[in-house]
């Protein structure tokens, strides 16, 4: 008993230290968000402690601010299309990388990954130059193209990694049991990489949603949400922005729930 006491004490101490660390980490991650939510309901214009009273005024103002609403709409439009486009190009690209061996394959793979490692400013300027050269009118669609390019690497990396973990024999077994290549893809490969595709899609959506540098160079007259917030910041943070932030937090939570449901293993 007495022999064990010091080690028990040490373990208790270690546990406490660990729990404290976890608590501190959680506080670091989530206190700013709680502050944001709290101030979105505060009835004072100045962002100072203590909170003075409860109001829904900022949400009401939000409902009247057509510029802001347009920006939110634009952001959804851009993020959705960019995600769709990057998935449509990225998933087949990952499959090609996985299935075929060809000269220069590793170079090809690195080239696909390059855009995520490049700073957004470089991608933005280079695409701006290209669009100018080709005579494109800058618009939300050019932003979509820019985002899809920058995000392609995310999708290819995730899907490719999953494909590599999938035993080759699964697809062969499907062929063996009479499935054509297309059918074996739909019946066997796709269900096994679905969660990687959903995950990559969600990540792409979120990254595109709050992207500023590429958007800055490629958008025409339309603003996306982060651009709008950035422009209003010159007049300081308004509680209205906090309200927008709170709504986005709620939407993100919803998105996470959807993602969990979509990727959950089907059980009987």
């Amino acid at each position: 008993m007495t022999k064990n006491t010091p080690s028990l004490m040490a373990r208790y101490g270690a546990d406490t230290a660990f729990m404290t660390f976890v608590a501190a980490l959680m506080a670091f991650l989530y206190i700013p968000i709680w502050v944001l939510i709290a101030f979105s309901f505060n009835d004072s214009r100045s962002l100072t402690w203590p909170l003075s009273g409860f109001t829904l005024d900022w949400y009401r103002k939000l409902a009247e601010n057509t510029d802001l609403q347009a920006a939110i709409g634009n952001s959804f439009y851009v993020a959705s299309l960019a995600t769709l486009l990057t998935l449509c190009v990225g998933v087949p690209a990952a499959m090609v990388l996985h299935r075929f061996d060809f000269p220069g394959k590793s170079v090809f793979r690195r080239l696909i990954l390059l855009p995520i490692t490049l700073p957004g400013i470089v991608t933005g300027i280079s695409m701006l130059n290209m669009f100018r050269l080709m005579g494109f009118q800058l618009s939300l669609e050019t932003v979509v193209l820019g985002h899809a390019t920058a995000l392609l690497g995310v999708v290819v990396t995730q899907v490719y990694a999953r494909l590599q973990r999938l035993p080759k024999s699964l697809q062969e077994a499907a062929y063996d049991l009479g499935a054509t290549p297309w059918r074996s893809f739909v019946d066997v490969t796709l269900p096994n990489i679905r969660s990687a595709i959903v995950g990559a899609g969600l990540l792409s959506f979120v990254l595109s949603f709050d992207e500023i540098p590429v958007t800055f160079f490629l958008t025409g007259r339309d603003n996306t949400l982060p651009m709008y917030i950035y422009s209003t910041m010159r007049r300081g943070v308004t509680p209205e922005i906090n309200a927008v932030g709170t709504i986005i937090v709620l939407l993100s939570l919803l998105l996470i729930v959807v993602a969990v449901i979509a990727t959950r293993e089907r059980r009987k």
Partner: protein
């Protein structure tokens, strides 16, 4: 019996220097259990995968029930494969796995359900129909993979090292089960293995492969008792090898010179006298002589090592000529009732002339 699989001069060259399968011709009869046996890299798996349609040959042709299928994709061949890692679909239940091959045949739901039930009952796992493969043990997965492959009633069932992932006890049990399954369903089985016991226990015919070619084929007992080369003699069972020189032949008996002794071998075809040869005999065909006993073909030496393996004893004897040979003896009684040979003691061995192999050349492996 009709030929179900005919391989004609089949080759797979990955590059001019890397050769997987080299000019193999083989005919498999309908209903046979044939095993392709060899060490890893001998081309046995490549051969099987070519029959399955997963690899294209560089030369030669494959006929299935008389029809040329050399260039048919796997999904058009009436053969099914049991994969080494079973390759069960993790996102489907056991029943869906087994039924998948029937779904692609566009059978009705009722028909699929009946045949899935039959196949699963055959391997004794119908109660697991709604479980996931991940929830089953290795042996159970193996059976599911078997059920999934035979449910389509293929003309030939291909088995790629089907038992290699199981532990020793289960493997022994599955060897017998597979053999019984083969008898029950009457489908032709072609199995690949590197395990000689598996090959001997289960097959009607064994094809021993060596660097992409067929080294020898035949019934298990023929291969064991009449190996065509030291390679086969050493791959199937254990063989003692001695370098030797051939001598005179009298009738069916040929004199062969071994280091320190002369042996007589009973051979169907004797080499001409004076040739360099390799003499071989199996450890279990060697008899340990009592002190005063005399016999034909004796070898004497000293005990170098005694290995006890439960079933019997293996004694390594250092011969007077310098070579080392094994002699096996069974222990019909408990060890306490026997006298164990002591290391260093002298020992005389005898091997009957009809148990001596003679191979041309000095190619002791």
């Amino acid at each position: 019996m009709a030929a179900i699989i005919e391989l004609e001069n089949l080759s797979k060259h990955y590059s001019p220097t890397i050769i997987g399968v080299d000019d193999v011709s083989l005919t498999v009869e309908d209903g046979e259990f044939v095993t392709l046996l060899g060490p890893s890299g001998c081309g046995k798996s490549t051969l099987l995968r070519m029959i399955g349609g997963f690899e294209a040959p560089t030369h030669g042709s494959i006929r299935l029930a008389g029809k040329d299928v050399t260039w048919d994709p796997p999904y058009k061949r009436e053969v099914n494969m049991v994969f080494q890692d079973y390759a069960l679909f993790p996102h489907m239940s056991v029943g869906e796995n087994v039924g998948y091959g029937l779904k692609t045949l566009r059978l009705s739901k009722g028909e699929i359900a009946t045949r899935v039930k039959d196949a699963l009952s055959l391997v004794g796992l119908y109660d697991k129909v709604n479980q996931r493969p991940q929830q089953l043990s290795g042996g159970q997965r193996q059976r599911i993979a078997l059920a999934r492959a035979i449910v389509r009633r293929p003309k030939v069932l291909l088995l790629d090292e089907p038992l290699s992932a199981l532990d020793a006890k289960l493997r022994e049990q599955m060897q017998i089960e597979l053999k019984h399954l083969h008898e029950k369903v009457g489908i032709t089985f072609i199995m690949v293995t590197h395990d000689q016991t598996e090959a001997l226990v289960m097959s009607d015919r064994v094809v021993v492969m060596e660097s992409g070619r067929i080294a020898q084929e035949g019934r298990p007992q023929d291969l064991y008792d009449h190996p065509a080369s030291p390679y086969v003699a050493n791959f199937i069972g254990t063989t003692n090898f001695l370098p030797g020189t051939s001598g005179a032949t009298q009738g069916r008996l040929t004199h062969v010179e071994a280091p320190g002794t002369t042996l007589r071998a009973e051979l169907d075809a004797a080499p001409p006298p004076g040739r360099e040869i390799t003499i071989g005999f199996r450890p279990e065909k060697v008899r340990v002589l009592a002190e005063t006993e005399s016999a034909e073909n004796t070898l004497s030496g000293r005990v170098a090592e005694v290995i006890y393996y439960g079933l019997g004893l293996r004694v390594a004897v250092e011969l007077e000529g310098g070579a080392r040979v094994f002699a096996d003896s069974l222990l019909p009684d408990r060890l306490a009732q026997s006298v164990l040979p002591q290391i260093g003691q002298s020992m005389r061995l005898a091997v009957a002339p009809h148990n001596v192999f003679v191979f041309e050349g000095r190619v002791a492996p």
